[in-house]
Amino acid sequence: MVVTNYARERTALRLGSQVDYLGSPYVAIGSGAATIGVATTGLAHYWDRNLITGSPDMTVAQYVTWTTDFTSTELSGLTMRQFGMFVESSGGKAWQVENMSQIQTYTGAEELQIEITWKVY
């Protein structure tokens, strides 16, 4: 039996629809760093969490892209080391967590944009 591309396309659309705790419309940023594994549930140290900007981009079959923006006011003083994707507006568990290797400290004169793309293959 073969899983068809139609199945993958519909799965991707379902992830982008953010229904029933499927898909992650929130991105959180943090100043801590930790080893990330499959049992990781959140950031080492939270700083802020924002809803994605607009709607997810699902124009390409089997792909979902989320873009989230953070203003200079939200970032001011942050040395960003991690970011993660969440379903809930606060608390909850992460769908994805990433450590940064290019560490940047934000002074209030920068803005941040995080773009995440998932592919159902």
Binding site: Q104, I114, T117, K119
Partner: protein
Amino acid sequence: MTLYTDVQIGSPIGSPFYSIGSFFKNLRVRTSVNHQSNTFEGEVYNTSGRRSDYFTLGQEVKIYHDITSPATNQIFYGRIEAIDYNGMPNKETIRIAGRDFTNYLMDAKVQAVYTSGTASVCEVGSIVRDMVYQSPFSGTIAVADVSGTSTVLQTFRVKNKSYYEAIDQLRKRVDYDFYIDFNKGLVFRPENNSPTGYQFNNANVARSSFNEDLREMYNKVTVYGDRQLITDRQSFTADGAGSVFTLIANPHDTLVTVDSTKKYGAVFEMVNFLPTGAQYLVDYDLKKIVFISGTAVGHNIPASGATVLVEYGRSNPIVKEITDESSIAQYGLRENVITNLEIKDPQQARDVARQELERTKYPALDGTVSLTSSSISGLLPGQTVEINLPFESVSGTFKVFETTYNINKENLLANSTITARVGNRIQNTSDILKNIILKAQAVEAHDTDTSDFITRARSSTGSEGLDYKWFVRTRTITGFGFLLSDATHGVLDTSTLGPNTYSAYSVLESGGNFLI
């Protein structure tokens, strides 16, 4: 004091541990960064053939080298790729040899083109991850340690090169090192960011050799990419007397019309007699169209007032040249010309020229140090060490680019198993031969293209999974206007009403597995 070595062999790998002296007669391990795969070669006692059935091709090998027993510092993880049986009465031995898992990168070829646009951002680290993701060894070689960079390429094209060469090209663009680690993970990280703290001096260096060489120094680099054919058109008004019309470029594939009537051409001075039907000749070197007239060919010179239209292809080379004047003033001009027909973008040619100049504008220093130390368990590729050898006029921080472990009972007891090459690699005969082979392969691959259609027969089973990629971008704000809630720019009476000025977003880092 003595050094210790243990070896595990098997599929899957596990106990027992084989030692030097009773099992191995000698063992040599060579580890390298950016240049070749790590290799091992060992000779095993096989008196009366007692170990003849111990080894099979493909068995995994782990080698440990340490200052304490049991040895836990791993220096090699690979497979047996060659087994030789040598027989002399009562002195039989078996030679086994192989490479580490860099062979995955070396034994498969990639053909791809990456172009930055609205749909994708070709950050160098993301290209490396995507190439591995699309490769036959995806899932075997991990990419978690492929670091992102802040360099975004407009175009990157690779034609039927090994994955190793393609990644080597990319790492040169960003001054990164790469190798396969002991967890079968591809490591792609900034150069010189892994200090050991080891100090090499007269106390622990038994032998040393340092060569400083101008021969691989270049302070003027010219990069030739592929030539692009574009169509040009020139119009002339004939005066009825002249038969020669001079173009502004050497013409390819000419199409000549006189008052919209197509004319037929031939090559100037190609033959001693004019070919039948020819009405004009093309002089490529002098960029001329010459209309011919005579008894055999008739009268073809355009009449006065006639419009002569010449359409032809112009071959535009992609060439970028860059120099370093201070190096030229100090060492004299040394020029390097790089020809790479895969380069079809002037920006890529400029980037390659710039990086090559940065890498070669100063003389190379290649050092070899043989250590005598009971406190150094090993040196990993890309690590840096401090060297102070005043008699060789050498002092400073150097990157170790190759480590050789010559392991036998005598060297272990004398703490003298490790020889390290540091600094910049000066090419030897094998490097020159390798470059010749690679250039020949590049010439053969010239006519292939990433858009070529290839039929494949594959079997598949059903599955579904989730993969990801990400980009983090930043931009700066200058010329601040009023910014609500900002501690500095949100204070009434001190901030200016008006818009902020934003720079464009630039990629800070990227991650994930695929790119496109």
